[in-house]
């Protein structure tokens, strides 16, 4: 599986994300000769325990996420970020969770937009939208390098491409920038060979950051 960096938009202090920024980002990809290919979509759901007695809530995980990715529509990914746990399952696991009635999905988010080809790279630009309210909650990008599946070996070229991208975008003087957070994949029991489990972990990691940002804006 080709290496992928998942980036998220970090607004400057006092600013939020909006559709104008999304439009500028997409235009920027096209301006560096990214060729628009088609649409993509990933989903993320928060699972919350159904408890008889709320006072024991601390015993149960508060960061239980379910993720579906477009590369494998028949698979589903669970992440418990605090425990550094990732599980890949068939998508029927969602039916099993519904039947168990021990956890329910609450907020669900869609990551969706267009993907672009740029030489050896595939870029995806996506808005983060709540399924319930359709309001724009953030912007993500996926940067995939097709020739390599080794995280270590591709690190330098990914870093260089990321710098090129940041520089192109900075000319538009937008109130924010893209951030790449690099999880410690080893802590999740993942190897240096890239898989969709690595992608699921990156999404779970950036989710934490997005929530923290949203909370600090509210405060």
């Amino acid at each position: 599986m080709p290496i992928k960096w998942v980036l998220h938009w970090q607004p400057n202090a006092g600013h939020t994300v909006n559709s104008q920024i999304l439009a500028e980002v997409s235009q920027c990809v096209e301006s560096i000769n990214g060729v628009k290919e088609g649409k993509w979509k990933a989903t993320l759901s928060f699972y919350r325990p159904l408890l008889k007695d709320q006072s024991n809530a601390a015993e149960f995980p508060r960061d239980f996420l379910g993720i579906s990715l477009p590369e494998q529509p028949n698979k589903y990914y669970f992440v418990l970020r605090g425990h550094r746990l990732v599980v890949e399952a068939d998508s029927t696991i969602q039916t099993i969770m519904e039947k168990l009635q021990s956890y329910k999905t609450r907020v669900a988010l869609n990551f969706e937009g267009f993907q672009y080809q740029l030489g050896d790279f595939q870029l995806r630009v996506g808005k983060v939208v709540s399924i319930q309210s359709e309001s724009l909650r953030g912007i993500v990008m996926e940067m995939e390098y097709k020739p390599s599946s080794s995280w270590e070996k591709s690190h330098k070229i990914m870093g260089e491409f990321f710098d090129i991208w940041q520089e192109a975008l900075s000319k538009r003087q937008l109130p924010g920038h893209f951030v790449h957070m690099e999880p410690n994949f080893g802590e999740y029991g993942l190897s240096g060979q890239y898989t969709l489990q690595h992608t699921a972990v990156q999404y779970a990691t950036l989710m934490l950051q997005m929530i923290a940002t949203a909370q600090s804006v509210r405060n």
């Binding site: 239980f64 599980v87 039916t95 099993i96 168990l100 021990s102 029991g189």
Partner: protein
């Protein structure tokens, strides 16, 4: 998105002596060679505070594969089509799935080792017949030890087939009709019944269903 269910019919076939006869019958019916089966079943139950009702989940580890292969299995209650049919939903999962369910608040209720053989074939549906004996593990995860047979001298026969919402009725019919071929052997192997007495298939199956699955072999502590 299409949901995948498996219909599961549990029949009891008594006495190990008749397993060979059953195997020959199945070989003739299925037309494919058998596959050996060795599965570690971890049966988990939700902790006391989780969910408005208790829930159960099985984590299966296929010990025949070079690397442990994990499956999550949920078995539903009796179906509206027939009391003999239950719905099963399965998902393959990667190796941390057991730890996941522990962290979600599920506890190990009991462990079983299932040893036997399986036939996979097409007959109106993609059918799998397994003939296996279950033994309860006495020590945590000790699949290699001598363990306690759950039903000494008795094998469990399970017939399963995947189904979607669209073809559910057809698949249930195919499974039920296939099971009628097994009825003679069930009669043959029912303990304490002379070969002269022939219970009807339904009566035999109904009396067997009361002993099917793991409902009656629960232990609260490992």
């Amino acid at each position: 998105k299409e949901k995948c269910y498996k219909l599961s019919l549990d029949l009891k076939q008594s006495t190990n002596g008749h397993v060979e006869a059953l195997e020959i019958l199945l070989l003739g019916l299925c037309g494919v060679p058998k596959e050996n089966l060795r599965v570690h079943e971890l049966c988990l139950k939700s902790g006391p505070n989780l969910g408005s009702e208790a829930s159960e989940i099985r984590i299966l580890c296929d010990l025949m594969q070079p690397e442990p292969a994990w499956t999550v299995r949920h078995v539903g209650g009796a179906d509206q089509i027939s009391v003999l049919v239950r719905t099963m939903v399965e998902s393959k999962a990667s190796k941390h799935v057991l730890r996941l369910f522990y962290l979600l608040g599920y506890k190990l209720d009991h462990e079983l080792l299932r040893v036997g053989f399986a036939f996979h074939f097409q007959r109106g549906a993609q059918i799998t017949v397994t003939v296996s004996s279950y033994s309860r593990l006495l020590k945590l995860h000790a699949t290699d030890d001598d363990n306690v047979p759950v039903t000494p001298g008795i094998q469990m026969v399970e017939v399963t087939a995947p189904a979607s919402a669209e073809n559910y009725t057809e698949v249930a019919a195919a499974v039920s009709s296939f099971c009628e071929y097994l009825a003679p052997l069930l009669h043959l192997s029912k303990p304490g019944v002379s070969t002269g007495v022939v219970p009807t298939a339904a009566a035999a199956a109904a009396s067997l269903m009361s002993f099917s699955g793991s409902t009656n072999i629960r232990h609260s502590e490992v």
